[in-house]
């Protein structure tokens, strides 16, 4: 299977397809209705991808030119590319994250990953749907990944 480049719309769409293939598991976790913006800090301008979840699937994936273009009511997960890379590699190596590479572990101290949003209730949706969001990223275990730089 060819590698999919991270970060890219293709990569997030590959995770969305994994979500569709695992619908039974997502149904077990419960529906998810929120919009997540993933911000990857690089040596240049940060790259932004928006994933809108509805029910048991990702309704849309798109790249954003700037954060202001995000749908209203979203939260942002931001980290340097190296952190995303380490998390994805860890998920791929173990079939899921080890204790020190879960989304909550990485975001809780606000370092190396940070969760933010237009208001606190939007940030709180990251906590409300955490199991499903973790499962979404765990899909990376089945997506051979290469890195842009």
């Amino acid at each position: 299977m060819a590698n999919t480049i991270f970060p890219s719309t293709d990569w997030f769409q590959a995770l969305s397809r994994r979500m569709e293939q695992e619908e039974a598991e997502y149904r077990r976790l419960g529906s998810i209705d929120c919009t997540m913006v993933v911000q990857i800090e690089t040596s240049g301008a940060p790259e932004l991808y928006e994933v809108a979840f509805e029910g048991f699937r990702a309704r849309s994936v798109r790249r954003l030119a700037r954060l202001e273009d995000a749908s209203p009511g979203h939260f942002v997960l931001e980290a340097p590319l190296a952190t995303w890379r380490e998390m994805i590699d860890n998920i791929r190596a173990n079939g899921g994250p080890d204790l020190e590479h879960t989304l909550n572990y990485l975001t809780f101290p606000d370092y190396p990953m940070r969760v933010s949003g237009p208001d606190q209730l939007e940030v709180d949706t990251f906590y409300r749907y955490n199991q499903s969001l973790q499962r979404f990223f765990n899909g990376a275990a089945e997506v051979p990944t290469a890195y842009a730089r």
């Binding site: 204790l99 909550n104 606190q120 940030v123 906590y127």
Partner: protein, 362 residues
């Protein structure tokens, strides 16, 4: 002498009429306004939000005066007796615009402590770590069901016309039952056991249960108490020594965030209609802040987390320093949630916004 009571005799007469073909059938056309209603399932299925539309979405600002359990939107016969138990009859006293959404979310995201936690992955831990996990679980077992007792205290007083809120609170009671259950299980499952209760926590629990009205109780519990506990759950996941605790805290975190979301939206709805009542909310938050700050000083509350944060009892001081940011995060998120609800708490805050770790260390 009649064989049956007059009520039974009347019933038997009525049955004889039915047997003769004398039916009433008025009920079939009793509610023309409410007839012909349809609902379309969304991607998730058929949610409460999907059926509460049009005529059925009309929630009265003052709940029904008949005070019965007749469902909102049906035809209520004039001789329907009231139950005389509803004291929360104003929509603004209980309502939150996200109540139906959160109910739908709660029922579809339920989990259980029997099969959803990978108990088979429990492993023998160093003694100080097991004792710290067990103490943390003792504290959480003690505190969690206040968020079941508090809604249970008020639930039967809420007018039946506000069923979205009642249903949501019922899910919260179940959530908290599960939290009590799962933390007790963790304490008892791995060679340890329950350790020391927390007198400090009881003060906060009493303040919640003794709050003079539902909205102040909700502000203290949903926004303040559960907001702080939500951060503790996130911390629990962060410090978890095995996948078992990771799963427990992640699952509980989701539930807690729903409860916080209801509390914020309820307070917002309430204050928009009763801005003059903000002072009462401030006063109950004064109590809560003092109680929780005392709690951070209690050894059985603070020390086990410091041991876990430091990675062992030999690093407890380092763990204490590592934990200081958690308090700052709790206070910051608490103030932001109150801001959304329309309450500017920052000038009234009775506890420090952050703990001056370096000063303490010096």
């Amino acid at each position: 002498m009649a064989k049956y009571t007059p009520e039974v005799e009347i019933g038997l007469d009525r049955m004889r009429e039915l047997a003769r073909g004398n039916f009433d059938l008025k009920w079939m056309h009793s509610n023309p306004q409410g007839w012909g209603h349809k609902a379309t399932p969304g991607p998730t299925g058929l949610r409460l939000q999907d059926v509460e539309t049009g005529y059925y979405a009309q929630v009265p600002a003052h709940g029904s005066e008949h005070g019965s359990m007749a469902p909102r939107g049906c035809s209520v016969p004039a001789d329907t007796r009231g139950l005389g138990m509803y004291t929360l009859n104003e929509m603004s006293e209980v309502w939150a615009e996200n109540a139906a959404l959160l109910y739908d979310e709660a029922v579809v995201r339920q989990w259980n402590s029997i099969t959803d936690v990978p108990w088979h992955k429990l492993q023998k831990l160093p003694d100080d770590i097991e004792r710290s996990v067990c103490q943390m679980c003792t504290g959480l077992t003690e505190v969690e069901f206040v968020a079941g007792d508090m809604p249970a205290k008020w639930l039967c007083r809420i007018n039946h016309d506000f069923h979205e809120v009642k249903l949501f609170l019922a899910t919260q009671i179940m959530d908290e039952a599960r939290h009590l259950d799962v933390f007790r299980k963790r304490a008892l499952a791995n060679g340890g056991g329950l350790l020391m209760a927390s007198p400090g926590q009881e003060e906060l629990l009493a303040a919640i249960l003794e709050a003079p009205d539902y909205t102040t109780a909700s502000a203290l519990m949903h926004i303040f108490g559960e907001g702080f506990v939500l951060t503790l759950f996130r911390q629990g996941e962060f410090l978890a020594p095995t996948e078992v605790e990771k799963a427990i805290f992640r699952l509980c975190m989701q539930d807690e965030a729903r409860h916080v979301a209801y509390g914020v939206k309820h307070l917002k709805y309430f204050l928009e209609r009763h801005p003059d009542r903000a002072e009462q909310v401030h006063k109950i938050l004064d109590l809560g802040e003092q109680a929780i700050f005392r709690l951070t000083l209690e050894p059985q509350t603070a020390e086990p987390r410091a041991i876990l944060a430091g990675g062992g009892i030999e690093n407890i001081q380092l763990g204490m320093l590592r934990m200081a940011f958690i308090y700052t995060k709790q206070v910051k998120e608490y103030l932001r949630r109150l801001q959304i609800a329309g309450l500017d708490r920052e000038p009234r805050l009775t506890i420090p916004k952050e703990i001056p770790v370096e000063d303490l260390a010096a």
